[in-house]
Symmetry: C2
Subunit: 142 residues, 2 copies
């Protein structure tokens, strides 16, 4: 994603465009691992040594409010951020706490159909979270 596009995204939702916001947004779009605030902070320190962890939290929260990011909470209660906005599920490794996207159109369609054709006892469902949990298999030689 180029810088002009990032600036546009940030500006379009009424947020001022700052260096910090750009760097944070860039870190998120580049990451595959659904980083925590702390991990974003570590990642961007190089390109912005004076940035504060509070700014990272505030910025991530602004982005979530603006719909530019999604937030989830992992098994350890730590906030994790996801720049992928379309419907998808997740794989969670109980050992490494890594979170990876799991994209499967059939599954998402299955779930969407399920929501539409079932009653949820007075709940208006607007979001579904699916996490497949397990352990990453060791790579076998051969």
């Amino acid at each position: 994603m180029n810088l002009a596009l990032i600036k546009e995204k940030i500006t379009n939702c009424g947020l001022k465009f700052t260096h910090q916001r750009m760097v944070i947004f860039l870190a998120l779009t580049k990451s595959e691992s659904h980083p925590s605030a702390e991990q974003v902070y570590e990642e961007i320190k190089g390109s912005n040594p004076s940035i504060s962890i509070a700014t990272v939290y505030k910025t991530l929260d602004s982005f979530v409010q603006a719909g530019l990011l999604r937030k989830t909470i992992d098994q350890n209660g730590v906030m994790r951020f996801d720049s992928k906005l379309d419907a998808h599920s997740h794989l969670y490794c109980k050992t490494s706490h890594e979170i990876r996207d799991y994209e499967n159109e059939k599954l998402e369609k299955l779930l969407q159909d399920f929501i539409e054709s079932n009653d949820f006892d007075g709940y208006e469902i607007d979001e579904i979270n699916v996490v497949f949990k397990g352990h990453k298999r060791e790579k076998t030689i051969n």
Copy 2:
């Protein structure tokens, strides 16, 4: 659930049977709302005024380790405990943070089939979490 059965469950997994454990286990089996440690603590204070919140945390953790309870983390990063052990999903109200069981055999079968017939890119899946999120509809008069 009667007390003898609870005692048996606790004893069977190698844990000593104490008043605190009984009261905590009882509170969990009676609750429908997937309480937090704090909520369990508030609930049982009456029947055991001297109990410590640390004991509640330690006991809940022992029960989870022993497989007597399940633990999840809610949207706020707070640990929630579930005494229902068979496969089921959850409804989460974004307003009240209430968590309710959502039991639907077809859904669970669908998911189980999905796990068995798909590849998860090197992950050995042993658990699936499904949470339907939304808002509880106001009851309409009429």
